[in-house]
């Protein structure tokens, strides 16, 4: 038991010897250590070893010559390069406050990029799906007319086939409009068959005084929209019509006996009334 106590005293003191050498021990502990050292040869030897090491370290403390200017020039070159890079990237991006946000921001940009790519890749599929299943959107046609892009986007979405009048009659399930009944001033230029949602509709393109008029005819109940354009209900020739006035062009839609019509073009109200009256 006594041996153990002595062992622990040695261990404790030996750990504190470094502090004793450096005068870092509290006064009472230093006094206890002093007393112990006087009577303990083992600890005295340890103390001597530490002092010898210390002395040797002081003797061997040969300072190395430092290449001051060379080192400074290296630092200047390095900091200039980094500063330039920081400046090019923008000071904010490298600032201390931004550093903590750097990775979340990078992650957000990456996620956004991946989502954008994914949405873009799905966009094609969605377009196809739209043309296959969604309602026909004549708003696109109005857009094309207003931007003078000659129905490009509309026919990209709803492919059309140019046909003869007789072929058009056979292609659809409802009676074809009596387009021939329009006065000669409405010269029939082209007949197209469009397909949307498995159903077919007809596009007549007429020309009056150098201006194109497009008249669409589709089956009753076939869903369609006119995009973002606002329509007002107006009776024309005792027929309830929806009128869209998009400044450059007008659109008038009405319901006939067996089908629905939509006429679009840069026409006067009188010319639209003439069309409604004849085709209804």
């Amino acid at each position: 038991m006594k041996k153990n106590i002595t062992f622990f005293r040695h261990r404790r003191l030996q750990r504190a010897l470094v502090l004793y050498v450096d005068d870092e021990l509290p006064q009472n502990e230093a006094a206890q250590a002093h007393v112990h050292l006087e009577g303990c040869a083992v600890c005295r030897q340890k103390l001597a070893d530490i002092r010898a090491c210390r002395e040797l370290l002081q003797v061997g403390r040969t300072p190395q010559s430092v290449p001051t200017e060379q080192l400074w020039q290296r630092i200047v070159r390095k900091t200039s390069a980094r500063t330039q890079a920081r400046f090019e990237l923008g000071e904010t991006f490298s600032s201390a406050s931004f550093r903590y946000l750097r990775w979340p921001v990078v992650a957000a940009i990456l996620i956004f990029f991946v989502l954008a790519v994914w949405m873009k890749s799905n966009d094609g599929e969605r377009s196809v799906a739209t043309s296959a299943s969604a309602t026909i959107d004549y708003g696109l046609f109005l857009d094309d007319l207003r931007h003078n892009v000659s129905e490009a986007n509309f026919h990209k979405r709803y492919p059309a086939q140019v046909v003869k009048l007789a072929e058009a009659r056979q292609a659809i399930a409802f009676p074809l409009a009596t387009i021939e009944a329009l006065p000669d001033s409405f010269r029939l230029d082209c007949v197209r068959v469009l397909e949307c949602n498995g159903k077919k509709c007809i596009q007549f393109t007429c020309v009056k005084a150098g201006k194109a008029i497009n008249i669409f005819q589709h089956a009753l109940g076939q869903p369609w929209t006119i995009g973002q354009y606002a329509a007002t209900r107006t009776p024309i020739c005792n027929v309830e019509c929806s009128l869209v006035n998009a400044k450059e062009v007008m659109a008038v839609s009405w319901q006939g006996k067996n089908s629905e019509y939509l006429a679009m073009g840069d026409l006067t109200p009188q010319e639209f009334a003439q069309i409604v009256e004849i085709l209804q």
Binding site: L17, V59, R61, V66, I75, T79
Partner: protein, 186 residues
Amino acid sequence: MPLHIAQTLAERRLDLRAIFLAHHRRLYQVAYRLTSSRQDAEDIVQEVFVRLYQKLEQFQGEAMLSTWLYRMTVNAGLDALRRFKRRQKWETSLALIVNEAAFAKENPGQQAHIEISEKLQKALSRLRKPFRAVIVLRDFEGLAYDEIAEVLQIDKGTVASRLHRAYAKLKKELEALGIDQDYLKL
């Protein structure tokens, strides 16, 4: 580059130069004692000051700056040791010969010191990294226990205990290299 940014950078460079002149020698010695390589010591000091350049605005007191510089240097030194552990085994003795030969050329007539210094550095390089760090900071740099504790981010008691064990290991290594207490009497 806009003028106000250029001026800020110029001022920052001036500040850095002042700090460099005040501290670089001590940091170089620490780095050299840890790595036993002049090249590594230069790289470490350079890296420390480049990092400081980016953080200059954050330091308000000299004590805080000094501690940070030591901490960066010791950490970089220990990292370098970790990275170049294998290389060091091969190059330590060569680096020592080159370094001490250079010193001998600069300080003729100090052959005994050179020999002790060489063997001491060799013994130090054989110590484990935490032991080497405390000896370098305490005996070469003369840092107080509190300062060492702050630099190494350990408590004061651990500093004392590491120092105690470090001296015991160093003594063994020195004896293995043929240096004992009697050597000092020469």
